[in-house]
Amino acid sequence: MTAPTQQKLKVHGPVVVTANRLRDGAVVYRAALGGWTTDLEASAIVHSAEDAKKLLAAASEEGLDAVGPYVAPVDTAGGRVMPGNLREQIRVAGPTFDLPGTAIR
């Protein structure tokens, strides 16, 4: 979970390009049809460093909608698209505990 922008690009398995939406910081994914989506299932999935770089380059051009794009692993084993590591799970589902005020005291 080293910050992804500090890592060299290595692709072992399916990956997506993800970022944060400019206006509200929400987690978004580069969509298969171009642009950005909040739905991981609708994201463009690639399998090589070459393709990942292309996707990243296209994503980085549009600084108006999303900020800080990087390549993140996904897990497609179960037939669905799931986040591929703990950091990406947390970005999808939020912190791994009840937020204050929501827990039953």
Partner: protein, 552 residues
């Protein structure tokens, strides 16, 4: 607390207006992210895993009840109903939208709050002792000098683009509750042989990748010279701090590479040219700043009023809380009350909007409308009449901020970690939560005694793990969360970095390991009063390492 005048309000209003313009230009594309990022950072706006995070400055950890209500309002209106108090006495909101931020800043400004310089390569919040102005062992109120520094460093034209962030802390008490020796500049107010109050200046402390304890560069600096001397330090740093490598850009690296003596002499040379210029502080400036601080008009009260004695004798729970969370005040008949934000199972240092509002009301009723934030991520009501302690306790208990664990093993300092932070390698909050569950017995906690546990989710050390009695640092190994344990660190006037105990342990074993470490301490201590940190000092980490790793 410091009350804004027209000048301060004007500057803040102009800042709000500037930021609104900058956000507008970012959203329209007139500013790229690279151009916008340093600007938003200088207003405390980060981009984290889930959303933008706003860090609101709480100068030297002092809040009015009105300000605390404003923070509650921001939490409710623009966030998810809670906020987090940080290790630098600030507040963080984790779910803010960029598009809302101009309005957030405007709302904050109504009670003199802002996010100015809580990030960026500039001088950050000048922190101090959460017991400032009320601690019995203090020479003077350090917040006056923290405020003088705050003003001087706010939008300083020369020092807004430093090589890296810059953190200053001030203490004026015998016991350093502000961790000055792990700051870029630490200032220790004390009296010299002639009875004059001045500052010992230490420079180059810091945690993170290359932790250092600060070195003394000036044993005694007169009040008059405070600003010119700090200016000289900043100017030397601005010119000679490294700009080629962000991991080597803090002043601690410059001090280390030059050596403390050479560094001090560079500063001295620069200082000689400016010390008698417009930065010389006259008594009028000090009086002017001090006059903006509101001090309570204390009643003449006796210590140990009957209400207090009675409550202690008939309510054991109150007595336990009193012994743990209430500290002596310099004014007879008054107390300093710590509000624990570390209840069992909860993320350390968080408070809901409801709690904030309730605490603001209690501050109005029992503490002259004033609240303090400590770097341990707890709150303080600094001026409570002793006769009101029983009633206050009932009210605090009802809102969940009276856990009598202050300074004990479950009073954990933790960074937000991977659950929130884009820099993190591992989670820290769930580790803290599990530890509070393992050690939930108050009897056990009291028999263990004072024990500071600090957890950082990455090497940036925002949880100050290097100076924890027990330090826990999250590292990543093959995509899994592992944790290194250090022992024997201290943040106070005897500041020291902890020593590594052994190989990192996986996430699901951390709580077990900490239980073993504490059990080893109980076994090894010379007598119950020997603190954990002193046992480690006496014996080193080996005996702990042996016991912990024997079964693993």
């Amino acid at each position: 607390m410091y009350v804004y005048d027209n000048f301060d309000r004007t500057l803040l209003a102009e800042r709000v207006s500037e930021f609104r313009d900058q956000v507008g230009r970012r959203l329209s594309g007139a500013l790229t992210e690279d151009e916008f990022k340093p600007l938003r950072l200088m207003n405390g706006v980060y981009l984290q895993l889930h959303a933008y995070m706003l860090r609101v400055a709480i100068p030297y950890g002092t809040l009015s009840s009105a300000q605390l209500r404003t923070l509650a309002h921001i939490a409710r209106r623009y966030d998810r109903g809670y906020g987090h108090f940080t290790t630098r006495q600030n507040m963080q909101f984790n779910w803010i939208k960029l598009s809302d931020l101009p309005d957030v800043m405007a709302d904050l400004a109504e009670t003199g709050l802002h996010g100015m310089q809580t990030s960026g390569n500039c001088v950050r919040n000048v922190t101090t002792d959460q017991w400032a102005a009320v601690a019995p062992d203090e020479v003077e109120d350090p917040r006056i000098y923290a405020e003088i520094l705050r003003q001087h460093c706010t939008m300083h034209p020369e020092f807004t683009f430093l090589p890296r962030k810059f953190k200053i802390a001030v203490t004026a008490a015998k016991h350093d509750r502000a961790a000055i020796r792990v700051h870029d500049i630490g200032l220790r107010m004390h009296k010299n042989g002639a009875g004059e109050v001045g500052f010992e200046v230490v420079v180059g402390g810091g945690l993170g990748r290359t932790p250092f304890v600060a070195k003394t560069v000036k044993p005694f600096l007169h009040k008059r010279d405070l600003l010119s001397y700090i200016e000289a330090i900043l100017r030397v740093y601005n010119q000679y701090g490294r700009r080629d490598n962000i991991y080597k850009a803090r002043i601690k690296i410059l001090v280390h590479e030059l050596g403390a003596e050479k560094f001090a002499s560079e500063v001295e040379t620069e200082w000689q040219s400016i010390k008698d210029g417009p930065l010389a502080i006259g008594p009028e400036l000090i009086a002017d700043v001090a006059s903006h601080f509101k001090y309570p008009t204390y009643e003449r009260l006796a210590n140990e009023p009957i209400e207090l004695q009675r409550a202690r004798s008939i309510k054991p729970q109150f007595g336990r809380w009193f012994r743990n969370s209430v500290s002596p005040h310099k004014q007879p008949g008054y107390s300093i009350v710590t509000l624990s934000l570390k209840p069992e199972g909860a993320p350390p240092g968080d408070a809901t909007a409801e709690q904030m509002d309730a605490i603001a009301d209690l501050a109005d009723r029992y503490s002259f409308g004033e609240i303090r934030v400590g770097h341990e991520q707890n709150l303080v009501l600094p001026h409570v009449p002793q006769r009101d302690l029983p009633a206050l306790w009932e009210a605090l208990d009802a809102i969940g901020v009276a856990t009598p664990n202050v300074g004990l093993v479950t009073d954990i300092i933790a960074c937000p970690g991977l659950d929130y932070c884009s820099l993190a390698n591992t989670r820290s909050i769930p580790v803290a939560q599990e530890l509070t569950r393992r050690f939930k017995s108050l009897d056990a906690q009291h028999s263990i005694g004072r024990l500071h546990v600090n957890i950082s989710g990455c090497i940036n050390a925002c949880g100050h793990h290097h100076v924890g009695h027990i330090g826990i640092l999250g590292v990543e190994k093959n995509g899994e969360e592992f944790y290194q344990i250090t022992l024997g660190g201290r943040a106070d006037e005897q500041a020291e970095l902890g020593a590594l105990m052994g190989p990192a342990v996986p996430y699901n074993e951390v709580a077990d390991v900490i239980e073993d470490v504490v059990a080893a301490y109980v076994e090894l201590r010379e007598r119950p009063e020997e603190l954990f940190v002193d046992t480690v000092k006496r014996l080193g980490v080996e005996p702990f390492k042996d016991r912990v790793y024997a079964a693993r």
